[in-house]
C-alpha cells in the first residue's frame, strides 16, 4: 500500500453513467390484457441520466444544480449505492454518508436515545463511535431531556433536528446532501450551515443538491449544472448559478 495518501487520488469517479427508468403502467394481468386490447403502451422509458462523467477531488465541495427533474437526486442515489447505473461506472473512496431525507430509519415507537443508536448504526457507525459522539449529537439537536421520550411524541421540528444531528455526526469522508437544509427554523438552519462549513474546512468531500442558491454559493466552490440528465456546465459555483438561471428562464 504505497500510495494511500496520494493527494491526486479523487474521492468520487463518475464515468459515462446512464440511468433509464422504465415506468410500468399496468400492475396486473387484467390491466396488461386490457392495455393490449386497446393497443396502449404498457411501459414508458425515461432517461434520467445520460453520459454523466466527472470526478470530485479530495476536499472539494461541489453543488449539483438544476431544475426539478434534471436528475440531481437520481445521481446522488447512484453515488450512495441505493440505485445502480445501467451502464458506466461509479467509484467512491472512503466512507460515504448521506444527508438524504434524514430520519428514514427512525421508528416512532422507540425513544430518542434508541433511535440515535439505531440510525447511527444504519449510517455505518459502530457502538464505540456512537458512544463517543452521543453527547454531541444530543447537544446539537437541542432535544435535551426529551431524549428518552418516544419519538412519536416529538414535534416535527424536534424530530428533524435529531435526525439531522445524527446524520451530520457520522464518521465520513464523503457527504451527500440532498435538500435537507431546508429543515428546522432559521437559527437551526444557520447552525447546520455552520456545521457543514466546518466539515468542508476539515477537508471532507461534499456533494450538495439544493435550490437554495445563497447557501450553495456560501458552502461550495464548484458547481455542476444538470439539465435533462446531462451535464451542461461544470465550473466555479457562481458561474454555474448564472448559467443555470440564464438558460433556464
Amino acid at each position: 500500500m504505497p500510495r494511500t495518501s496520494d493527494p491526486a487520488l479523487p474521492r468520487i469517479i463518475i464515468d459515462s453513467v446512464d440511468k433509464t427508468f422504465i415506468l410500468r403502467h399496468t400492475h396486473s394481468f387484467k390491466e396488461s390484457f386490457i392495455a393490449k386490447l386497446q393497443k396502449k403502451k404498457t411501459t414508458t422509458s425515461f432517461s434520467a441520466l445520460s453520459d454523466i462523467g466527472f470526478t470530485v477531488q479530495e476536499g472539494e465541495s461541489v453543488a449539483l444544480l438544476g431544475y426539478n427533474g434534471s436528475g440531481k437526486s437520481t445521481l446522488l442515489k447512484l453515488i450512495s449505492g441505493v440505485m445502480r447505473p445501467d451502464s458506466g461506472r461509479i467509484l467512491t473512496r472512503g466512507r460515504v454518508a448521506g444527508l438524504i431525507e434524514v430520519g428514514a430509519g427512525f421508528h416512532p415507537d422507540l425513544s430518542g436515545r434508541e433511535n440515535v443508536y439505531l440510525n447511527a448504526a444504519i449510517l455505518g457507525m459502530n457502538k464505540d463511535e456512537i458512544d463517543r459522539r452521543f453527547n454531541d449529537i444530543v447537544e446539537f439537536s437541542e432535544i435535551g431531556e426529551f431524549i428518552d421520550t418516544e419519538v412519536k411524541h416529538y414535534s416535527s421540528g424536534m424530530f428533524v433536528r435529531l435526525a439531522f444531528s445524527v446524520a451530520i455526526h457520522t464518521e465520513l469522508d464523503i457527504l451527500l446532501v440532498d435538500e435537507v437544509l431546508a429543515v428546522g427554523d432559521a437559527p437551526f438552519r444557520e447552525k447546520c450551515k455552520k456545521k457543514i462549513q466546518e466539515l468542508t474546512d476539515q477537508g471532507k468531500t461534499m456533494l450538495v443538491v439544493s435550490h437554495d442558491v445563497d447557501m450553495v454559493t456560501q458552502v461550495c466552490k464548484r458547481g455542476i449544472v444538470l439539465r435533462d440528465g446531462k451535464v451542461c456546465f461544470d465550473g466555479a459555483v457562481n458561474d454555474a448559478v448564472a448559467s443555470m438561471q440564464g438558460n433556464g428562464a
Binding site: 500510495r3 470526478t55 450512495s80 441505493v82 448521506g98 434508541e114 444504519i122 451535464v231 461544470d234
Partner: protein
C-alpha cells in the same frame, strides 16, 4: 470531456455492491439493534405484550388437541400426544413466523431501502432472528411440560433439536430471501407464501403420525415426504423432546439421520438459490418499491 482516471483503483469501491449474507453478517452491531427494534416494537401498544407469545400457541394447541387428540382419537394412538403435538407445532410455527416476516421485510423497510444503502440481506436475516427470539418462550413451555412427563435430556436429543432448528432457520432465510426479493415487484409473493405456510402444517407429521402416510402411499412418495426439510425438522423435534417420554409404540421414521442431512442439504441449496435471486433483483429494489 476528457477524463483522466488514476491507474490504481484498488482503494475505490463500487457503491451498492455487497457480498450478500456475508457482508450483512459483518454489520453485527446494526443487526443486533435491528433485532432489538424488532423485539421491542413487536407488541408495542398492547397491554398484554409478550403474553401474546404464550396465548397464541396455547390457543392453537388447544384447538388442535381437542380436534385431533380427542375427537379423532389420536390421544390413544400416540403416547403423550400433547407433547408430540406441541413439539411439532412450535417447529412449524417458527418456520411460518420466520418465513412470513422475512418475505415482508424488504417492503416493510421501504423508507430505508430507498434512501440509504445497506446490504439488504440484513432485513430478512433480522426478521428471521426476531422470529427465533419469539419462538424461545414456546420452547421454554415445552421443556417444562416435558420435564413433568419424565423427560431426561440427552446429548443426542439436544443435538437433534439444534439440528432441527438449524434446518428450519436456514430454510426460512433461503425462502425469505427468494420471496422477499420477488415481493418488491410482485406483491403476489406475499399471498403465495401464506398458501405455502398453509401446506407446511399438513405436509409434515405435526397433527398425525408418519406411519399413517407410510401406510397409504407408495414408497417413492413416502421417501419424497421424508425428504421435505420440514418433515425432518419436525421429526428431529419429536426425537429430542417427545420420543424419550414414550414407550416406543410409535417408532421413529426410517433413516431419520440420513433424511435430516438431506433436509439440511436441501435447505442450504435453497439458501444459495435465494441469495442468488436476491442479488439479481436487489439492484431494482429502490425503484420498484
Amino acid at each position: 470531456m476528457s477524463q483522466k482516471f488514476p491507474a490504481d483503483l484498488s482503494e475505490f469501491t463500487v457503491p451498492g455492491h455487497s457480498r450478500g449474507i456475508i457482508d450483512a453478517l459483518s454489520y453485527r452491531y446494526l443487526l443486533r439493534l435491528l433485532i432489538r427494534k424488532g423485539t421491542l416494537t413487536r407488541y408495542h401498544g398492547s397491554v398484554l405484550g409478550w403474553v401474546w407469545s404464550y396465548v397464541k400457541p396455547a390457543a392453537q394447541f388447544l384447538v388442535f388437541y381437542l380436534v385431533f387428540g380427542f375427537f379423532l382419537g389420536l390421544n390413544k394412538g400416540i403416547d403423550n400426544f400433547p407433547i408430540y403435538l406441541f413439539s411439532g407445532m412450535i417447529a412449524i410455527n417458527l418456520f411460518g413466523e420466520a418465513f412470513g416476516n422475512a418475505t415482508r421485510s424488504i417492503v416493510d423497510n421501504t423508507a430505508l431501502v430507498q434512501k440509504i444503502y445497506l446490504p439488504r440481506e440484513l432485513f430478512p436475516i433480522s426478521a428471521v432472528i426476531v422470529a427465533f427470539v419469539h419462538f424461545l418462550p414456546q420452547v421454554l413451555i415445552l421443556v417444562i411440560v416435558c420435564l413433568f412427563a419424565g423427560w431426561v435430556p440427552t446429548l443426542v436429543g439436544i443435538a437433534s433439536i439444534i439440528l432441527g432448528m438449524l434446518i428450519v432457520v436456514t430454510l426460512a432465510i433461503g425462502l425469505g430471501l427468494f420471496f422477499g426479493a420477488i415481493n418488491v415487484a410482485f406483491r403476489d409473493a406475499q399471498n403465495l407464501v401464506e398458501l405455502i405456510l398453509l401446506f407446511a402444517t399438513w405436509t409434515s407429521p405435526v397433527l398425525y403420525a408418519w406411519t399413517m402416510v407410510a401406510d397409504k402411499v407408495s414408497p417413492w412418495v413416502f421417501n419424497l415426504y421424508l425428504s421435505n426439510p420440514l418433515t425432518s425438522a419436525v421429526e428431529l423435534f419429536h426425537a429430542g423432546f417427545w420420543f424419550s417420554t414414550t414407550t416406543g409404540s410409535l417408532p421413529q421414521p426410517p433413516h431419520l439421520a440420513a433424511f435430516s442431512l438431506i433436509g439440511l442439504l436441501i435447505s442450504l441449496i435453497i439458501l444459495a438459490i435465494g441469495q442468488l435471486v436476491f442479488k439479481r433483483l436487489e439492484g431494482h429494489f429502490a425503484q420498484n418499491l
